[in-house]
């Protein structure tokens, strides 16, 4: 730890020294000229000296420092035409760069793609992948629903536990150890329909970035990875309508200017209807009124007060509703659950070198399960609610040194398992009550180019967490009053990313990152489901701590047309939480009594080859890995593989642009079968045969593999109208991949014999899909 402080000190000194150099600054926003959307991660550089370059930050702002003189500044961004600017730099200058979508000039678009690919070699980040939403829309998906999180599962180092589930596991971390942000708001539940579909409507999204290793210091609160999703800002030039009709859902997005070039809005909604269609068939039947549907709604407005001040207000609201109605017995079950988020953001430029983002964020996830029969009813409620305030500052010291620092405060309210029941003459509640806590953090990171060969991204994140009453101590039985401080934790997380150029097109990168997590999702399910509960760190439940080491070799071939990488990682995790093996998922006043605590470790090697330019694009990723956990009270304190421990995991994603109208895609996945706990014995008790289980996760299902295909046909372009048909086949060769194993006892009374048998249950066979998408604009 002492060494890391020493390095920080040296870097700070270097930063101060660099202040002494006299440079002028070109700065501004990079935006899409057609929609006014800010572009994140655009390259801005001096064509004659590629070392003088920078990228736009998360909010589209760039700042490039150069000595006085004449420059040819180029801006490039994936999917857009390059823009070259002649700049006679005599004083600090603001230039907002407007890039044209690159549909006309293929060569410059390819050049932009290659620039993007070049980051694979020159960037400091290890294990960071930016997903192209346009490309995602071409990929074959389950029932035609474009899904960001399922696409993430196709990257090396990322696995899923069960078919169709949008829950994912990064480099051996748990599903709750991914920081999933939608416009900076944490999304606690990412799945609709038990996770078969993600809560993110791709039509409303601008960008998605996955960080699976070397997490920069501006991110915290989770142990394993970051998925940073940004919503579109809304078109500030023209009105635009996008809509899609699919097999199970339809969606509509409307965006346009409120005040042209100054303010815009976007609203986007999606709803399923497949079971609405069967409602007429249920009329007069036993289960009349039974239904399930989900919907989500995204909206955003923004206002540019000046070149220095912009304000954004965005929100998300989504719900899954399941209703089971048994009319004859007046019995009803109602299960609504979902997320709500709201983000108010203010971007302010103090100078052309100092950029500030301030956000006030609200997010809420709640799960309710209610049942009623005439006058008797009960309701079970679990939820998380956060109020969050954060400030992030980017200080572009010079082209060699970029500082980022900020702070974050979150007030958490967690409600695990609140139960109430009402009936004739009684109104009852359990003793479960919400828990409250304060989480704060401060961070500093420095992206420093030490030489043309060496570059580092070094950071430090300090966090504190205070558990507040009411709470009854399990250690000394002390009862804490509401808002009384129970326990405070402090943690320091150093982060170091390092890159060394090893040749014209190759580099070595390494990273060490410490991480801390104070909220935990505890699950007794084999995957992750919406009823899983989030719990707080307390005096009894310690914060999770993690450390990850990554080392990678990155090389591009054929003029940056092909990106390749080999990355190795090793990760250790402390204070991991599981339910006891006898936990039945019931409702308990004191859920902490049901936990067991242990540790985890994971290591693996990831191979990645990607081609991002030309008619034929795609990637192949392969991971060989091992992921284990160890708990005192599980498996006799021996290490065991997790359910998502897949020694071999292969994904192949191919896309072929047949013509301007036709596009074909294919996805093939192969992975080791999911681990499960097998039945070892049967025994007789209570007058029947019963199952006794062997060691935890000591058996595996057969290997999983699947091929998905899709074909997109774009209708002839008209002035204001575009449309396309997407035809898809999920599981094209109808592989019967088992989702789970079912045990049953077959009794042959005539023969006086019985046999316990196992069968594998497959949920997803070959599933064709078709969807129609269209867009209109008033250009």
């Amino acid at each position: 730890m002492k060494d890391i402080f020493l390095v920080l000190l040296i870097l700070s000194t270097s930063a101060i020294n660099s202040l002494a150099q006299r440079n002028l600054t070109v700065s501004g926003y990079v935006v899409d000229s057609e929609s006014g959307e800010t572009l994140v991660g655009a390259n801005v550089y001096d064509v004659n000296n590629l070392q003088n370059g920078t990228t736009s930050n998360s909010y589209g702002f760039y700042s490039l420092s150069l000595p006085e003189g004449n420059y040819n500044i180029r801006c490039s961004y994936l999917g857009f035409q390059n823009q070259d600017l002649e700049v006679n730099l005599k004083s600090d200058t603001t230039i907002n760069i407007r890039l044209l979508p690159g549909v006309m000039l293929k060569d410059v678009v390819i050049d932009a793609k290659k620039q993007q690919a070049r980051k694979n070699v020159v960037g400091t980040q290890v294990g960071t992948v930016k997903l192209d939403i346009k490309q995602l829309k071409m990929m074959p998906v389950l029932m035609g629903e474009v899904d960001v999180l399922k696409s993430i599962q196709l990257l090396p180092g990322v696995t899923s536990v069960s078919e169709g589930n949008s829950g994912f596991y990064v480099r051996g971390g748990g599903a709750d150890q991914n920081l999933i942000l939608l416009d900076e708001a944490i999304v606690y539940n990412t799945g609709h329909m038990l996770g078969f579909f993600s809560v993110f409507n791709a039509d409303a999204l601008k960008s998605t970035t996955l960080i699976k290793g070397g997490m920069p210091a501006n991110y915290g609160q989770r142990l394993s990875s970051v998925v940073d999703i940004k919503m579109k800002d809304g078109n500030d030039k023209n009105y635009k309508v996008d809509a899609g009709i699919g097999l199970i859902s339809s969606k509509l997005t409307v965006q346009g200017p409120i005040i042209k070039n100054k303010s815009s809005f976007i609203v986007s909604g999606r709803r399923t209807y497949i079971l609405d269609l069967v409602q007429p068939l249920l009329e007069g039947k036993k289960f009349e009124g039974t239904n399930y549907y989900f919907y989500d709604f995204n909206s955003k407005i923004n206002y540019k007060f000046s070149d220095k001040d912009r304000v954004y207000l965005s929100g998300y609201f989504g719900r899954d509703i399941f209703k089971l109605n048994f009319k004859a017995r007046a019995f009803e079950i109602l299960m609504p659950y979902g997320n709500s988020t709201a983000t108010l953001r203010w971007n302010h430029l103090f100078s052309n070198k100092l950029f500030m983002n301030t956000s006030v964020i609200y997010n809420d996830y709640n799960f309710k399960l209610g049942a009623s029969q005439e006058k008797f009813s009960f309701e079970n409620y679990s939820g998380v609610r956060d109020y969050n305030f954060k400030i992030d500052l980017d200080y572009f010291l010079n082209n060699k040194n970029k500082l980022k620092f900020g702070s974050n405060y979150t007030y958490h309210k967690l409600s695990p398992n609140i139960l109430s029941a009402q009936g004739e003459g009684f109104n009852l509640e359990n003793e479960g009550s919400p828990t409250f806590s304060h989480e704060t953090s401060l961070y500093l990171l420095d992206e420093l180019k030490i030489s043309d060969i060496l570059k580092t991204n070094i950071g430090l994140r300090f966090s504190g967490y205070s558990q507040m009453g009411n709470y009854k101590s399990k250690i000394n039985s002390k009862e804490f009053a509401p808002n009384e401080l129970v326990k405070t934790y402090f943690n320091l997380d150093p982060r170091l990313n390092f890159r060394a150029i090893t040749g014209k097109n190759s580099s070595i990168k390494a990273s060490i990152s410490f991480t801390t997590q104070y909220l935990h999702l505890v699950s007794n399910s084999s995957g992750s489901i919406p009823s899983d509960i989030w719990v707080s760190s307390t005096e009894y439940v310690k914060p999770e701590r993690g450390i990850q080491y990554s080392l990678g070799f990155f090389k591009n071939f054929f003029d940056d047309s092909y990106e390749t990488s080999i990355e190795a990682y090793y990760k250790e995790m402390k204070n991991q939480i599981e339910f006891r093996e006898d936990y039945v998922g019931g409702i308990d006043d004191d859920i902490e009594n049901k936990f067991v605590f242990g540790k985890g470790r994971a290591f693996g090697l990831e191979l990645f080859l990607k081609k991002s330019s030309g008619k034929f694009t795609g990637w192949i990723g392969y991971t060989i890995s091992k992921t284990e956990r160890k708990f005192d009270l599980i498996n006799d304190n021996e290490w065991f593989g997790t359910t998502y421990d897949k020694p071999h995991d292969l994904s192949l994603v191919l896309n072929y642009q047949i013509s301007t109208r036709w596009n074909a895609s294919a996805v093939f996945v192969y992975g080791s079968g999911r681990r499960y706990t097998p039945v070892s014995d049967i025994y007789i008790l209570d007058g029947r045969f019963n199952l006794e289980y062997g060691s935890r996760n000591s058996a595996s299902l057969p290997a999983y593999h699947r091929l998905d295909l899709s074909l997109v046909y774009k209708s002839k372009k008209r002035k204001n109208w575009n449309s396309s048909w997407t035809f898809g086949v999920y599981n094209a060769y109808n592989r019967k991949n088992p989702t789970f194993i079912n045990y049953d006892t077959e009794i042959d009374k005539d023969a006086g014999k019985s046999k316990v048998s196992a069968s594998k249950i497959t949920i997803f066979p070959i599933i064709p899909s078709i969807s129609y998408n269209f867009s209109w604009n008033n250009k």
Partner: protein
């Protein structure tokens, strides 16, 4: 329970499009062949003798015919129960050697299998044990050099105030009634309950009939008590659901049990399935040197005929 609601959810959704089931041969897993204890003590007016059924588990892959099942039972163990004063050895007795009144008493707990002549168990035939509330009982078994031990308590009895019937909820149905029970839960203690229903001296039901006092702590309360029948079994009458047929003779038994005993049945009833989303659940036994349960009950018993309308 939430996970089980999810299973309904899944049945309704996922399987509505498709599901395919194929036989699966799991890789060989070494059988543990553990001792299995099913031991019962009961303080109630029924005078049910304390008994222990001792057997061994067998490989999951076994084909179970009557000979193999018979061989699972252990008839040569030494079984002792210590009640704090007396250390009583239980006698190994088979059904054919028991008196009919005694068989009837055991029937109330064990059901039909007691009438199988091959059924055998270790019994406190002469009622030497002092069976009383708020008392601890130690079980000690020796077999082929192996020691199996456990401890349980019989807790304080339940305050069952009254039992009555009302119209079932929903559409009127003349032939059935819903059972309601008024009982009082002691304040500031964690209390655990299980109930049994014997219908017309023929069927014993206790499926999913456990509950605790999480929301009724310290209260006198009237609650509906559904018939504890497994909805997947052939005994389940879909027309009346979990209500009771009018005119039937019922023996209703509401028992208090200690936390470990409750914990076993709670986990046991969910331990036989590993669904698409639920993890496996291992029954939480209270046996050292084996698996199963050694459990005490304090029970109130009510005999009642479901009134005609």
């Amino acid at each position: 329970m939430k996970n089980y609601i999810f299973i309904i959810f899944i049945l309704f959704l996922g399987f509505s499009f498709y599901s395919c089931e194929e036989e699966f041969a799991p890789s060989d897993v070494k059988a543990k062949q553990e001792y299995v204890v099913e031991g019962h003590l009961e303080a109630s007016r029924l005078g049910i003798p304390t008994f222990v059924i001792l057997s061994k588990s067998t490989s999951y892959f076994s084909t179970l015919d009557s000979a193999l099942v018979e061989n699972l039972y252990i008839d040569d163990a030494d079984v002792f129960v210590f009640d704090g004063q007396n250390n009583v050895e239980l006698s190994y007795v088979c059904a054919k050697d028991l008196s009919f009144p005694l068989l009837l008493k055991l029937y109330g707990v064990l059901g039909n299998k007691i009438f199988n002549s091959k059924f055998c168990a270790y019994l406190d035939l002469d009622n030497k044990l002092n069976i009383a509330e708020e008392r601890e009982y130690k079980l000690h078994i020796e077999h082929e050099g192996n020691i199996i031990e456990s401890t349980t308590t019989i807790p304080k009895n339940v305050m069952l105030d009254s039992l009555y019937f009302k119209e079932p909820p929903g559409d009127p149905i003349d032939s059935a009634a819903m059972m309601w029970v008024r009982f009082s839960d002691p304040k500031d203690e964690s209390d655990f309950y299980r109930y049994f229903v014997i219908e017309n001296f023929k069927k014993v039901y206790s499926y999913n009939s456990l509950f605790d006092d999480m929301i009724v702590d310290g209260k006198t309360i009237d609650l509906p008590f559904r018939k504890p029948v497994d909805p997947r079994s052939s005994d389940f009458n879909r027309d009346i659901g979990f209500t009771y047929l009018r005119g039937d003779t019922l023996q209703f038994k509401l028992c208090a049990l200690d936390k470990a005993h409750y914990g076993f049945w709670e986990s046991f009833q969910f331990s036989n399935n590993q669904g698409p989303f639920t993890s496996y659940i291992r029954a939480k036994d209270n046996i050292e040197g084996g698996i199963g349960i050694w459990g005490g009950y304090a029970c109130k018993v009510v005999d009642v005929i479901v009134p005609m309308k």
